[in-house]
Symmetry: C2
C-alpha cells in the first residue's frame, strides 16, 4: 500500500493563487493570516499522512463487527486515530468561535477535510456526520439543547449521526414511520421514540463517550407526508443535569451492513424503543423536521463532494507512483516505465487534471460559503448564497461521479495488479462508489439543480456564474498562448447557456414542468460540471502563466498549464456532448414500457 501524502502544495495553490485568500479578508477572520492557514495545512497533512493514512488499508481489510450486545468493534487503531483528531482540536476548526470552535474559514476547513478523506475516507465519515449534527443543533436547537450537547460535539468527545432512512423511506423521506410519542408527565419537548432506521453511518462505536442521534420521526397525531415529520435528538447515553452521562437510552444497533467499501465505517441499523421507548428531544419546530435536516444537508453535500476529491487525489498518487515504478516495454529503444507510454500518460494526465479541477471548483464554492456567512453587506451575502446553492449540487454530483471514474482509471493504470486487493487501488474504487449515492443520490442532486435551484430565480444565480466563466474565457483569449483554451471555454459556456434556456423553458410549464425537467437534469448537471471545472482550470492556467511570466521556473506551474490544456481541450469537449443530448430531446424517456424492454 502506497503511503498518502496530503497535497499541501496543490491546496495552497488554490487558496492563495486562485482564491487569493479572499476569505481571510472577511469580517470575523481578522486573526486568520495566510501564515496561520499554511501552518494549519501543514499540521493537518501530518495527521493525514502519519496517523489516518496508514490505517486505510488495514481498516478496509479488518472492517467493523457487531458484538452480540449490540456494541460495535472498529478496526484496530481507529479509536486512537479519531482521538488524535479530536484532541488536536481538528473537529472545531470550521466551527464558529461562539460555539467553541476555532472559527477558521470554510475554505480551510474544506482543505483539511479533503486531506483527511484522502487519508482515510471511512474514518473521515465520523466527523463529517458530527458536523451535520452540530449544524442542525446550532441552527434549530433550543438553548438548553445547545448548551448540553454542542460543546461536546464541537470538541469531538461526542459524535453525531443523521437518522433519516427507513426501509421504505430512502430518497422519499415523506414515508418515514418512526414514531415520537410525547411524554406527558415529564418535561416539555421530551418524547419516546419507536422505530427502525437503516444505513446510519457511525451509528454505534466506542470512539466517543456518547453518540448524539438526530432522528426524523412523526408524532402520533402528525399528518401524512413531509409536513408530519419532526426532528429529534436522541443521545446514546442520557445526559444528567450536571452534564455527566446517565443511563443508556433505549436505542441499540441491531445489525451492521456488509458493504462494497468504506468497511472501516460502521453502517448501522438502529432500533429505537425496543423497550419503553428511546428518550428524544424535539429540535426546532414540530413538522419542520425535513426543512431542518436540509439546512445541514446542503453543507453535508459539499462535504461529500470534498470526500470524492480526497479519494481521487489518493487514486492519482497511487497511479503515478505505480506508473513511475513499473517497467514494461520500450520507448525509443530503451526499457521504460509505463509512465513513458503515451496511452498511460493520457490516463495519468486525465486523472490529475480532473482532480485539480474538481478541487478548485469545490474550494471556490467553499469561498463563496465564507462570503455568504461573513460578508458585511447583506446583499453580498445573499448573492453568494445563491451561487452556493447552485454550485453545491454540482460539487456533490460531479466530484463524486468523477471520483469513481478516476479511481477506476487508477485501477486500470495498475493493470492486473489493480485488481488485486493488496495493491490498494481497488479499495479506492470501492470506497468512492458510495459517494454518488448518499446524501441525496446524484440524480436527486441534478433535480435539485435543474428543477429547483435554477427555476426559483429564473437562472439568475447560474447566470451570474456563467458571466464569470465568460470573463475567464475572454481573459484567456487575450493571453497569447492560452487563446485556444479561451475558445474552448467560450464554446462550453455557450453550450451551457443554450442548455440552461431549454431547462428553464421546460420548467415554465406548471403542469408538466417538474416531470419534464427530470429528463434533462442529469445531462444538464454533467454539462455544468464540465464547464465550471474547465473555468477553474482556465483560471489556473492564467495564474500559472502569470507566475511563469514573473520569472518562476517552478515545474509546478508548467504542470498546471499542461493540466489546464488537457481539461479545456480534451475533457471539456466530452462534456459538451451533453448539449447534443439535451438538444435531441427526451420524448422516448416518458413513453417506453419498462416491462417490455
Amino acid at each position: 500500500m502506497f503511503p498518502f501524502a496530503a497535497p499541501v502544495r496543490d491546496l495552497r495553490f488554490v487558496l492563495e493563487e486562485l482564491l487569493e485568500y479572499r476569505s481571510l479578508a472577511l469580517p470575523g477572520f481578522e486573526e486568520a493570516s495566510p501564515d496561520l492557514v499554511e501552518a494549519v495545512l501543514e499540521e493537518a497533512a501530518k495527521l493525514a499522512g502519519e496517523v489516518w493514512g496508514p490505517l486505510n488499508a488495514s481498516g478496509d481489510q479488518q472492517g467493523c463487527a457487531r458484538r452480540d450486545d449490540g456494541s460495535v468493534t472498529l478496526p484496530d487503531g481507529f479509536i486512537e486515530a479519531y482521538r488524535a483528531y479530536a484532541e488536536g482540536g481538528w473537529n472545531g476548526i470550521g466551527v464558529s468561535e461562539a460555539l467553541g470552535g476555532q472559527g477558521l474559514p470554510e475554505v480551510v476547513a474544506s482543505s483539511v477535510q479533503e486531506m483527511l478523506h484522502g487519508a482515510n475516507m471511512a474514518l473521515g465519515l465520523c466527523p463529517m456526520l458530527t458536523a451535520g449534527a452540530i449544524e442542525a443543533l446550532a441552527h434549530h436547537g433550543s438553548d438548553a439543547l445547545k448548551e448540553t450537547y454542542l460543546p461536546r460535539l464541537v470538541e469531538g468527545s461526542w459524535t453525531g449521526t443523521m437518522n433519516l432512512t427507513e426501509p421504505q423511506a430512502g430518497s422519499d423521506l415523506s414515508r418515514v414511520r418512526t414514531r415520537a410519542v410525547p411524554c406527558p408527565d415529564e418535561e416539555a419537548d421530551r418524547y419516546r421514540l419507536f422505530g427502525q432506521k437503516i444505513f446510519i453511518t457511525w451509528g454505534e462505536h466506542d470512539a466517543a463517550e456518547n453518540i448524539i442521534h438526530l432522528v426524523l420521526a412523526r408524532k402520533p397525531d402528525a399528518p401524512e407526508g413531509n409536513k408530519g415529520i419532526s426532528l429529534f435528538l436522541v443521545p446514546k447515553f442520557l445526559v444528567n443535569a450536571d452534564g455527566s452521562l446517565g443511563e443508556r437510552n433505549d436505542v441499540v444497533c441491531a445489525s451492521i451492513e456488509h458493504k462494497l467499501g468504506i468497511h472501516g465505517s460502521p453502517t448501522c441499523t438502529l432500533s429505537f424503543g425496543e423497550g419503553e421507548g428511546a428518550i428524544g428531544y424535539l429540535v426546532g419546530e414540530e413538522g419542520r423536521g425535513l426543512n431542518h435536516m436540509f439546512t445541514m444537508m446542503n453543507e453535508a453535500r459539499h462535504k461529500v463532494g470534498i470526500q470524492g476529491i480526497g479519494v481521487a487525489e489518493r487514486a492519482c498518487q497511487h497511479a503515478f507512483a505505480y506508473a513511475l515504478d513499473r517497467v514494461q516495454g520500450k520507448v525509443r529503444g530503451s526499457d521504460a516505465t509505463i509512465s513513458e507510454h503515451l496511452d498511460v500518460r493520457r490516463m495519468l494526465l486525465s486523472m490529475r487534471a480532473r482532480t485539480d479541477a474538481l478541487r478548485a471548483l469545490a474550494l471556490y464554492c467553499a469561498a463563496e460559503l465564507d462570503v455568504a456567512r461573513h460578508a458585511g453587506d447583506a446583499s453580498e451575502r445573499k448573492a453568494a448564497q445563491a451561487r452556493v446553492d447552485v454550485l453545491i449540487p454540482v460539487v456533490k454530483s460531479f466530484s463524486t461521479d468523477q471520483a469513481v471514474d478516476i479511481a477506476s482509471m487508477g485501477v486500470q493504470v495498475h493493470g492486473g495488479m489493480g485488481y488485486i486487493e493488496e495493491t490498494g487501488a481497488a479499495q479506492l474504487l470501492r470506497d468512492a462508489r458510495i459517494a454518488p449515492i448518499y446524501e441525496g443520490t446524484n440524480g436527486i442532486q441534478s433535480l435539485d439543480l435543474a428543477g429547483r435551484k435554477l427555476q426559483r430565480d429564473g437562472g439568475a444565480a447560474f447566470n451570474d456564474l456563467l458571466g464569470r466563466v465568460e470573463a475567464t474565457a475572454e481573459a484567456l483569449r487575450g493571453n497569447g498562448e492560452l487563446a485556444a483554451l479561451g475558445e474552448s471555454l467560450a464554446a462550453g459556456a455557450a453550450d451551457l447557456r443554450a442548455a440552461m434556456a431549454i431547462v428553464l423553458e421546460q420548467g415554465s410549464d406548471p403542469e408538466s414542468g417538474v416531470d419534464a425537467i427530470q429528463a434533462y437534469a442529469t445531462p444538464f448537471l454533467n454539462l455544468a460540471g464540465h464547464v465550471l471545472c474547465a473555468w477553474q482550470m482556465g483560471q489556473s492556467a492564467l495564474k500559472a502563466a502569470a507566475a511563469q511570466a514573473a520569472g518562476s521556473g517552478e515545474p509546478f506551474y508548467q504542470a498546471k498549464l499542461v493540466a489546464a490544456d488537457f481539461a479545456l481541450r480534451q475533457w471539456l469537449p466530452a462534456g459538451r456532448a451533453n448539449r447534443s443530448v439535451i438538444d435531441a430531446g427526451m420524448a422516448s424517456l416518458a413513453s417506453f414500457d419498462v416491462k417490455a424492454i
Copy 2:
C-alpha cells in the same frame, strides 16, 4: 439476489432478424437449422438460469481457498455446476466436429457463452480458458499432442489454462523468464520447466481430472526478447501412453489472489519446477510462442467482450427488477415505483440500449468469424477475417468498458441498497472490473486497432465496415420516422472517417508513428465503438420498424425502437466527442513531467 433469466428473446432477435441466420448458410453448417439453434439456446438458458445462476452470489461470498498441500477449494456447487456443463456437451458446441465438438457456428457458441457469463462469470472463466487451450493446440500442436489432449479438453473432462504473466512480464511478455530445459535422454520436444507464473485463471482446482497448462517459456539458449519465447504444454498430471493419468507433474499452486471480484474463479500463482522440473512439451515452433499464443488470444478477446455483455445483461435485469419493485415518491399524484421517474428511466434505458448494442456488435463479429472460417470462397474468407481483426479490439474494449459503466449504473439505480453486498448489484461491478484489464488491457486493444490493424492495410477493412455503417444511415434516412436516426448515424460515421484519416496520417511517419498513435488510440477506439454500436442499433430499428409494418404488435419491437432512438440520439453524441478530442491534438501528452504534476 435476483434470479438470472437468460435473454433468449434478445439473442434470437440478433441471430434471426439482424444476422438473418446467415452463418447457417455457410458450408459445414448444413445440419444446423434455425430450429436446432433455438433449441440449443433454450437448453443453454436452463443451464444458465437453473444451475449456474443460483451459484453466482454464494460463489462470490465464499470464494476459493488454497489448502496447505497446494490444492484449491472451489465454492460449494461449482464442481457440480461445471460437470453439468461438461456432461451436457456444452464445452464442444463451437468446436469443429473433426476435433470432437458439435461444430455449431460461432454466433451460437457466443450466444451460449453470453448466457453463462451472465449467470456466473467466475465459473464461465473455466471453459473460456479451456477454449483458448483447444485453439492453440488445434492450430499448433503436433499430432501426438492433439491426439492425447484434445479429446479430453473438448469434452471438458480436462480444463486448460494460459500461463503468460510473470511478476516482471505483464503487458510486456518479452520479459518472460520461465526456463524450459530440453530433456536430452528422453523423447524429443520434451522439456523441464522452471519458473513462476502469476494471475493464472483456474490454474488449480478439482472440477476436472486434469489441467493442461499452456506456458510461455524460454530455452536456455534462446535469444532475448519475443523471439526467444516458445510455447509449452504442461499437464498437471502426466498422461500415460494409454491415455490414463500418471504421476503428478512438478507444478504447484503456490498461492491464490485476493481480488476485487470473480471470487469464484481461482487466480493462481503457479510454481513450475520446485523439484526436478515440470515436464512440458513444445507446442508449435521454437521461438514462435508469442505468435502461437496470439492466435488464440484474438478469439479469447472476443470472448472477454462477450463476458462483459453477459454481466451487463445481468446488471440490467437486476436494475429493472428493483426499479419495478421499489416504491418511492409520486408521479402525477400517485405512489410510484422508481421505474416511473424519468431520471431513473434514463438510467434504465441507457443500460438496456447499450447492452443491446454491444450484443449486436459482438454477434456481428461472431458471424464474420463464421464467414472467415467457413465461406467457400477464399477471398470472402479473407475479407471477413480482415473485418474480424478490426472488430475484435473494439468488441473487447468497448464492451468491457461499457459493462463496467452499466454495472455501476445498476448500483446507482438501487440507491443505498446497491452499496450493500447482499443485493448483488455491487458484485456485478466488482466482477466486471477485471474485463478491461485481462487478455490485453483496453489500452493495448486500442493500440492494436489504431497502431497495427488500421495501419497494416491502410484502413481498408475498417473502410469496408464504415461503408456498411453509411449504407445503414442511408436506409434510415429513407425510412420516414427513422430519418433523424439516419442523420445522427451519418454524422457519427463522418466523424469516424475523419478520425481514421488523422490516425492513418500519424502512422505514416515511420520514425514517430507508433508513438504518436498511442496518444490517439483510446479516443479513436471509443469513437469507433460508439459508431459501430449505433450502426447495429440502426439496423435494429430498421428490423423492428419492418416487423411493425408487417403487423406485429409485439411490445418487444416498440422497445427496440426506443432503445435505438436512445442509442443513436443520446448515446452516440457523447461518443462523437472523441472526434473533438482527437482534433484538438495531444501535444501535451508527450511533454509533461510526470514527477511534477
